[in-house]
């Protein structure tokens, strides 16, 4: 496997597309933070001392949220890039060359997985690192605090690694480059959208305030139960687990608010990674390759 890994690294060094995407993400990262800061100063000026604290806190939250937008894009780019590149391995026949000379299918799969994780991590770092000094120079740091910011970055990398294991499964088991790319992008969108909708349902309050008019013409404030609320129980637990394990939704959560439960989500990422890799390996070991 070491040989396959070193050959893969040799290939990555020469993969021009990877470095172009890295460069674009780095530029977008720094540019996005600088532009957000500029827009914040213009749109939310500190009018007086009374609202200063509120304005600054809103600015910080806005800056934090925008900082994570480019890395989220990086994760999406990685889905397209990894599946495209793995598809190219089939199209060019390079995948064949490894098996013909007696490399084990397990080793070929695990090497591809490690390399795609590396690609994802590279893209995430390219999307994080240039933005940090600009954050320091403009906002003076993260509104959420350094610990939470760094944990969120680590969490996003963990989620992208889980994502990657899914793309590896697709890329190595679908032999058409175009089909792999389309399925990967469609799945990413479905996971992000599905996760978002599901999380919206789980965040529904059990009740909401309502008003009731009596016959006497009196208006009463009452509590109305929410029909969209999913009650506590096995269904809610299963849906919560599902949405927590969805790496696309995790990325969006990190992006919007800075997630509190990084450790728990990272554990789910690990579980997702192991399950997809085991499934992918199982299929790949018996697959007829062209």
């Amino acid at each position: 496997m070491t040989e396959l890994l070193s050959a893969g690294l040799y290939r990555l060094r020469r993969l021009r597309l990877l470095w172009i995407v890295c460069g674009l993400l780095a530029l977008a990262s720094a540019g996005n933070v600088a532009w957000t800061w500029h827009a914040t100063l213009r749109n939310d000026p500190v009018l007086n001392d009374e609202v200063k604290a509120v304005t600054l806190s809103l600015r910080a939250a806005y800056m934090d949220s925008n900082f994570f937008t480019v890395p989220a894009m990086g994760v999406l780019f990685s889905s397209a890039l990894c599946s495209w590149e793995l598809g190219a391995e089939y199209q060019d026949g390079a995948q064949r060359n490894k098996l013909i000379v007696g490399r084990k299918r397990r080793d070929v799969y695990l090497t591809a997985l490690l390399l795609t994780v590396l690609v994802c991590a590279l893209l995430c770092l390219a999307a994080f690192l240039p933005g940090i000094p600009v954050m320091l120079l403009t906002a003076g740091g993260f509104g959420m605090g350094w610990t939470k910011a760094l944990l969120s970055m680590a969490g996003m990398i963990a989620a992208s690694a889980a994502f990657t294991s899914l793309f590896t499964l697709l890329g190595l088991n679908i032999q058409s480059r175009a089909a792999t790319a389309i399925v990967a992008i469609a799945l990413t969108a479905a996971l992000a959208l599905g996760g978002n909708i599901l999380r919206g349902r789980l965040e529904e309050a059990p009740t909401y305030p309502g008003v009731q008019h009596t016959e006497d013409g009196e208006t009463l404030f009452v509590t109305v139960s929410n029909p969209r609320y999913i009650p506590e129980g096995p269904v809610r637990d299963a849906l919560t687990l599902l949405v927590d394990m969805d790496p696309a939704d995790q990325v969006l959560r990190y992006c919007h608010s800075g997630e509190e439960n990084v450790g728990r989500l990272a554990a789910y990422d690990a579980l997702f990674f192991v399950l997809t890799t085991a499934t992918g390996l199982l299929i790949f070991r018996r697959k007829d390759l062209r």
């Binding site: 050959a7 290939r11 020469r14 026949g93 060359n97 013909i100 000379v101 007696g102 018996r286 007829d288």
Partner: protein, 302 residues
């Protein structure tokens, strides 16, 4: 004779379509084994099974005496170009070879220029392989297959897309590897005349089975003498030859091939008696192509 590869009762299906149905084949060490068969006969599927790209449904594969799980280790002695040459199109020929050396776990890349020279790609510099001509791509594919210094080289239609000069170069390369380096070669090709120039053994595939396995010497002795004739009426000629018990192939109203040992004088007299004039006659030897067509039950009247 020691065998490099053998298969017994090999079966493989794609869904309901049976591609190999009880195939037996033996590739002797040091041979150039020509695999002959029409499209869909199972040539490429057999090659994919040997290379480990696909798994058989049944039967036994043996490579250098190894079977089952040990086949993977035995494959380290194999180099192959399956269907189309395999390389990264966005890398140069040299970079592709360096990559393949790393896949093989060969840190010493001194052989890269030597291999490029062997296949005539030493002057391609940093040009991306994607923009190579078909012939150059084919030669790069062969160089990639040779990177591990294999004892057994498998080439699937190596002359595809090559110009006449390229075909000669590949032929000479195969002969050189076989004679000087002792490499056993399994080659499938539709260009039978080309195959006939290099093969020492033949396997004829039809409907997923090997219908005949023969060495070049036996084949040569079984190829019959043929007279190509132009006559005034092939129908009358056919009746006369049936009477003589001679085999023939009618090519048109006026042309035919006649097989067997018969003198031109006897043939002329027989045809004359049947009311058919012999206009021209030329002697030819039966080719691999006609042997193959004959084997498949072509339009010959024996």
């Amino acid at each position: 004779m020691e065998n490099v590869f053998l298969a017994r009762n090999l079966t493989k299906s794609y869904g309901r379509a049976k591609v190999l149905s009880g195939l037996d084949i033996t590739v002797p060490k040091g041979s150039i084994y020509g695999l002959v068969g029409r499209n869909g006969a199972g040539k490429t599927t057999l090659i994919r099974l040997i290379c480990g790209l696909q798994l058989p449904d049944g039967g036994e594969l043996e490579l250098y005496g190894q079977t089952g799980r040990d086949l993977t280790r035995a494959r380290r002695r194999v180099g192959a170009v399956v269907e189309s040459p395999a390389f990264y199109g966005d890398m140069s020929a040299a970079d592709n070879l360096k990559h393949q050396f790393l896949v093989l776990g060969l840190p010493d890349q001194d052989r890269v220029p030597e291999l490029l020279k062997l296949v005539g790609l030493e002057n391609t510099g940093k040009k991306r392989a994607r923009s190579f001509s078909l012939g150059m791509k084919q030669r790069l594919g062969i160089a990639m297959a040779l990177a591990g210094d294999p004892d057994f080289l498998i080439l699937d239609e190596p002359a595809n897309g090559l110009d006449p000069e390229g075909i000669v170069e590949i032929r000479e390369l195969i002969l050189k590897l076989n004679r000087e380096n002792g490499v056993t070669v399994l080659v499938s090709s539709h260009i039978l005349d080309e195959l006939a120039r290099i093969a020492t053994h033949y396997g004829f595939l039809e409907g997923g089975r090997l219908i005949r396995e023969i060495d070049a010497k036996s084949l040569e002795s079984s190829l019959r003498r043929r007279l190509h004739v132009t006559v005034t009426d092939t129908a009358k000629m056919a009746a006369a030859l049936d009477g003589l018990g001679l085999a023939y192939t009618v090519l048109s109203d006026r042309e035919a091939d006649v097989y067997g040992d018969t003198s031109v004088t006897d043939l002329t007299l027989t045809l004359r008696a049947a009311g058919c004039d012999l206009l021209t006659v030329s002697e030819k030897n039966e080719t691999l192509e006609s042997y193959y067509i004959d084997l498949l039950g072509g339009e010959r009247h024996d």
